[in-house]
Amino acid sequence: MISEDLVIKDLHVSVEGQKILNGIDLTIRKGEVSALMGPNGSGKSTLAYTLMGHPKYTVNSGEVWFKGKNVLELGPDERAKLGLFLSFQYPQEIPGVSVSNFLRTALNAVKSQPMPIPEFVKLLKEKMRLLKVDDKFARRYLNEGFSGGEKKKAEILQMAVLQPEMAILDETDSGLDIDSLRIVAEGVNNLLNPGMGVLVITHYQRLLNYIKPDKVHVMIKGRIVRSGGKELAHELESMGYEKMVKEADVRA
């Protein structure tokens, strides 16, 4: 049977000749929220970019399987069509391309049938309400001149419209004030459904107060060193990463 989960096997990745991921084994299940935590520089974002197919990241060995496909053999656009989605930590500003024009093009690209314009407009309005952004948002150029909070809202708006089956949220909480954080987290919670898996990448426990994880994994120096339930996030909150970093050094 073809697995509906995202399965990462012994993944080794380097960037510009430097090894960042040193054998990641991880399964992200549909219908669940998995959290990936770890200190800065542990390789969390490298994993996110690698899963989405950024050309700068070189896969030295390993496999990533999703819906019967070896994801690593696909281009970023094919991965999106397969149902993968990455919410960027630093979304790009694209001059002259309106949010609405972009989202319609992207939606038609990932769906087999183009959506009629009135139906799209209705969908977009509904999702914009969910993220508490006004109608003008749709006409603005994608991320251009957006505040940190607006950029993250735009990312989750894209997720809401594209309805992926496996969403990776890379540091979605960074640069957000507490009100924006709540809105963005509520937006994500609203989208959770049995047909979608979510990987929340975060440095801090803060976001996980709003988006409750089913599983928590801790990454240190390019390896998963601990996995557990949401109590693991609380443990990290009280004791920090230091002890685990030391343990990882001993093992390495």
Binding site: G75, D77, R79, P91, I94, P95, G96, V97, A106, L162
Partner: protein, 396 residues
């Protein structure tokens, strides 16, 4: 393609006539054509265009015409508007022509100018009388299906008049052809002209188009140009601010593909005080295409209280593409505001990855970035129909 056919249906062909006075006028320039040397790349007006490779003599005797169609002008006749073949105008309206052409104090004259002046075969003449507002845009389309076509147009808007003029040029095939075009636009005092120029050449066409706008007191010309195609596609727009308080905006976009070379010049000459100019020309270079943009702002001693701005941005998509930008300021007056800015940049891989991560193929992502890059200019074009037409040509 569909659009062009429907537009053609509404258009009527402009018949060419013979004109003795036109022949006399042309004969004056024959000597210059023979005596003037071919321009060279080291000359300022030809920098970054390898003109020595262009074999002008292959198009001898330069005797072809353009197939010209114009929009229905029956309603305009009652208002005294004249829309006819340029030769007809030289037969019937020499007084109007002479009264205006004398105002053209442009010093631009070289072998290609002389070629046009000595060989023009047809073109349009458009005249808007004093205080007449033409509400519906006048359309003219020029199709080149001969080896050469030499065109001359004269557009005159008298004092207090108002007109929108839309012209589009294209060639029929991928065959080698030469198109030479000289257009003079005379904006009388307090007149307002919106001038839209679209060209879409086959990839073996050589185009040399020179448009000169002459502005009287408080006149306004707003130029919009969109250039596509051509082995050598040269468009020069000169704006001569001869009357105090005159103003002009010049918006331009271009896209180069395969091995095309796009050559754009926008020169402005502030010959008098209180004049205003704003130029924005942006371009895209795909594949192995190349371009040069030259933009001169010249402010004479008499040009006090002038505001003049120029910007040029080029986005390179093709790794082998080459973009050149030469903005220049020559300022003789001491109480003016003038500036220029130019950038040439490569499309960002991070932008491409971002869009592709949402499901767009590389081609779709590139197209979206290209369209977005030109959108700040396109969104300023006041006609929705033209915006859509230009967007269509950009992503063709």
């Amino acid at each position: 393609m569909m659009q062009q056919t429907t537009q053609k249906a509404k258009m009527t062909p402009l018949t060419k006539v013979k004109s003795g006075s036109a022949e006399k006028e042309k004969a004056k320039h024959l000597k210059s054509l023979n005596e003037l040397p071919m321009p060279e790349e080291r000359q300022e007006a030809w920098r970054y265009t390898n003109i020595s490779k262009f074999r002008l003599n292959e198009f001898y005797p330069f005797d072809g015409s353009a197939e010209i169609s114009v929009s229905d002008s029956t309603g305009l006749k009652e208002k005294g508007v004249i829309l006819c073949d340029i030769n007809t105008a030289f037969n019937e309206h020499t007084d109007i022509i002479n009264r205006n052409t004398v105002k053209n104090n442009s010093r631009a004259y070289d072998k290609f100018t002389a070629l046009n002046a000595s060989h023009w075969s047809n073109g349009i003449f458009l005249y808007v009388p004093k205080n007449v507002s033409v509400e519906i845009p006048v359309n003219a389309s020029f199709l080149i299906s001969t080896k050469s076509a030499v065109v001359r147009n004269i557009i005159i808007a008298e004092t207090g008049s108002k007109i929108d003029f839309i012209e589009d040029y294209s060639s029929d095939s991928g065959e080698e052809c030469l198109h030479s075009c000289a257009t003079e636009v005379y904006a009388g005092a307090d007149s307002k002209i919106n001038y839209y120029h679209i060209n879409n050449w086959g990839n073996n066409a050589g185009n040399f188009t020179h448009i000169t706008g002459v502005l009287d007191r408080n006149a306004a010309i707003n130029w919009v140009s969109a250039s596509f195609g051509g082995k050598l596609n040269r468009l020069r727009i000169d704006t001569l601010f001869n009357g105090e308080g005159s103003q002009s905006e010049n918006l331009g976009v271009f896209v180069g593909r395969s091995r095309e070379h796009i050559d754009i010049t926008t020169n402005v000459y502030h010959n008098t005080a209180h004049t205003t100019n704003n130029i924005m020309v942006d371009g895209i270079l795909k594949d192995s295409s190349s371009s040069v943009y030259r933009g001169l702002i010249r402010i004479e001693k008499a040009g006090q209280q002038t505001n003049s701005y120029l910007s040029n941005h080029i986005l390179k998509i093709g790794e082998k593409s080459l973009g050149n930008s030469i903005p220049a300021l020559e300022i003789e007056a001491n109480d003016v505001k003038a500036s220029h800015g130019a950038t040439v940049g490569q499309v960002s891989e991070e932008h491409l990855f971002y869009l592709m991560s949402r499901g767009l193929t590389r081609d779709e992502a590139e197209n979206m970035i290209v369209q977005g890059f030109l959108e700040p200019i396109i969104s300023k074009i006041p006609s929705e129909e033209l915006r859509e037409k230009i967007r269509g040509l950009i992503t063709r």
